[in-house]
């Protein structure tokens, strides 16, 4: 975890110094004609991916993340907008003339070739001389831990091994960026977690820009330096995993990443940058860095683990919301409470079982929920 953060900082440092970013998308739109109607898969994506960054495109299926990646790879031409790789406009350049390589969801290994031939395919196309091919393929198979299996056919290998062949086949060409389309989707949970760590290690080792497409939020949070959360053909938020989790920009991001509570209230007063929202009769929500003005209706999000449950009304500069406990679920590491507010809205609260595993509240109890002003985050829409 700390290494990941260190990596992210290193990336931030290099991204300031390098002249051209690895990948730039500028107003990319992709339209299809389906049953005589124009359908927009991507509705205008602009983003910049720095050299050496582990960048994730995260979103539900059909959000346009895979189409965005295929535009970068060159399999789709954008209907509008431009794609730049290291400052060069590559819009309309075919995939075989782009210096990026892709790892496909289905691996897409060549079934009639063995592991060695699969990995050497790209180098042979670029007319690299034989000794060099032998050296680089051998080296790459070493990195992905497949040395000694050169003569195997893809179908004779496990899913995890095929995955590593696909990775080696792309990485051996030393591309300027590696595009990965849900590469771990077909693996079981244990293997997937092992491969996440493995991928991160390989990325650090080779120092290549990774663009990672996934619908799995925990995968994106674990591995990425930055994440672009996509929904309905647009980027909802582009930020670091911490930022995305702690300060979701929209209701969609708040709902898609982890568990989140949405509360609505009218701004009562604003004092020293801190807004006080009235939620129902006796409850108040404090929002630090609030964009709202007096009388405005605001929606805020707060994560379940930031909330404290107490029987008495909390003291001091904190949010204080009244409710009744509807449900208590013991989950080992923590208790999950569902608390109903006066207006019928439900709030989920996680309380860690670090000190005492007996519940602080029981079903039917009237309780107060409280949290720090900085943990309320006003969202758009």
């Amino acid at each position: 975890m700390t290494q990941t953060q260190a990596g992210a900082e290193a990336v931030a440092a290099t991204c300031d110094s390098s002249s051209a970013p690895a990948i730039e998308l500028d107003g990319v739109v992709k339209e299809y004609l389906a049953h005589g109607e124009v359908v927009q898969a991507v509705k205008g994506v602009t983003l910049t991916i720095a050299e050496g960054e582990f960048f994730s495109l995260l979103g539900p299926s059909g959000c346009g993340k895979t189409t965005t990646m295929r535009v970068i790879a060159g399999f789709e031409d954008p209907s509008r907008g431009t794609v730049r790789l290291h400052g060069h406009d590559v819009t309309g350049v075919p995939p075989n003339k782009r210096d990026v390589n892709m790892v496909f969801q289905s691996y897409a290994l060549f079934p009639h070739m063995n592991v060695w031939e699969n990995v050497a395919f790209g180098l042979k196309r670029r007319k690299v001389d034989r000794a060099e091919i032998r050296r680089r393929v051998g080296e790459m198979l070493e990195i992905v831990d497949l040395a000694g299996r050169e003569k195997r056919r893809p179908r004779e290998m496990s899913g995890g091994q095929q995955q590593r062949v696909a990775l080696a086949r792309a990485l051996v060409n030393n591309p300027r960026a590696l595009l990965l389309d849900e590469p771990l989707g077909a693996l079981d949970l244990k293997l997937r977690q092992a491969m996440q760590i493995e991928l991160k290690r390989i990325q650090r080792e080779v120092g290549i820009t990774f663009v990672y497409v996934t619908h799995d939020q925990s995968e994106a949070l674990t591995m990425s330096d930055r994440i672009a959360v996509m929904n309905d053909g647009l980027v909802e938020q582009l930020a670091s995993p911490r930022e995305i989790y702690e300060r979701p920009a929209t209701a969609f991001v708040a709902g898609f990443i982890g568990t989140s509570n949405l509360l609505k209230g009218v701004v009562d007063r604003v004092a020293s940058g801190c807004a006080v929202l009235r939620v129902g009769q006796e409850s108040r929500v404090l929002v630090a860095e609030s964009p709202g003005r007096e009388g405005e209706l605001l929606t805020i999000t707060v994560r379940p683990e930031k909330i404290t449950i107490s029987a008495e009304e909390p003291e001091g500069e904190v949010s204080a919301v009244r409710g009744t406990v509807r449900e208590v679920v013991y989950l080992g590491l923590y208790n999950s409470y569902t608390v109903a507010l006066a207006d019928g809205a439900e709030v989920t609260v996680f309380q860690q079982n670090a000190l005492d595993s007996t519940s602080t509240a029981e079903r039917g109890d009237a309780v107060w929920l409280s949290w720090q002003p900085r943990h309320s985050y006003a969202i758009g829409r």
């Binding site: 790879a73 995939p95 496909f104 969801q105 395919f121 790209g122």
Partner: protein, 283 residues
């Protein structure tokens, strides 16, 4: 240990009654299946065995029907009928040329049908099916009237055209089956790794559909070499192997025909064996 043993022994008489009558039943079924399989194989191979054997028959009459002793003399007099030799040569040339043309066209058709959605696809499938299903007599007669109305001289070229027409669908269908099962991302991977569309086709697509192409080609060759009806309509004065045999039946078929049949059969077997062996290595 002993307790469970006695339990089993105790349970056995009851179990025996249920199990015993079933066993001979299974064995009888097994045997019947074996007999049936051998009967089918004999049914298939006996005519071929007879054809091969009568190439060695020391017959003295014009008809080669009764077994009169073993001889190799027909093998030394294989070229005794120049028209027969010419007919076989014609048949082989027609089959090879027609197969080559059919394989190329049929492969392209099969790829297009298996790969893309396009206007006229349904119609193409229908025409292909019609070509397979229509009686040879109908096809032969209509081809002849077509050639006559076009003012074409019937002969080698018209026979090749006719053979390409009726075997095209078979190649297209077998290649289409392979093309449908092809993962498109495999071709995209090749493009992504720097291969041009041309290289991608020959390095990735073609090896993947090759089994379909080979079996389609073998089918086309087999259909062409022994076709009689359509060839009869479209050949004019040209003689092919089946046409010559048909003509010879009135005077009696010489043992040389059996030998040539044997050779063509041996060629077919050799190709099939090679295809199976390499196919096993591929997959």
């Amino acid at each position: 240990m002993s307790a469970s043993d006695t339990m089993v022994t105790a349970a056995e008489p009851g179990a025996e009654e249920g199990a015993r009558p079933a066993r001979p039943g299974i064995r009888l079924g097994d045997r019947l299946l074996k007999v049936y399989v051998w009967a089918v194989l004999a049914w298939l191979f006996l005519p071929i065995a007879v054809m091969i054997a009568f190439g060695f028959n020391d017959t003295r009459s014009k008809s080669n029907i009764n077994w009169q002793g073993f001889t190799l003399k027909w093998w030394t007099r294989l070229g005794e009928y120049p028209e027969l030799t010419e007919a076989v040569t014609n048949s082989l040339n027609i089959a090879l040329l027609a197969t080559a043309i059919t394989t190329v066209l049929g492969t392209l058709m099969g790829l297009a049908l298996g790969r893309y959605r396009f206007r006229g696809q349904g119609a193409t499938n229908l025409v292909m099916f019609a070509a397979i299903a229509s009686p040879e007599l109908v096809m032969g007669a209509s081809l002849l009237s077509l050639f006559i109305s076009a003012g074409a001289q019937t002969g080698f070229v018209t026979v090749v055209i006719a053979h390409v027409l009726f075997s095209l669908s078979f190649v297209a269908v077998t290649v289409r089956a392979r093309a449908v099962g092809l993962d498109r991302s495999v071709e995209e991977a090749a493009r992504d790794l720097g291969a041009s569309p041309w290289t991608t086709f020959w390095r990735v697509t073609f090896p993947a559909i090759l089994p379909g192409v080979v079996s389609g080609a073998l089918l086309a060759f087999a259909l062409s070499i022994d076709d009689f009806v359509i060839t009869q309509f479209t050949s004019g004065s040209l003689q092919t192997f089946p046409l010559w045999i048909w003509g010879a039946t009135r005077m009696g078929i010489p043992p040389q025909v059996n030998i040539l049949g044997t050779l063509i059969f041996a060629l077919g077997v050799a190709v099939a064996v090679v295809n199976t062996l390499t196919g096993r290595r591929r997959t």
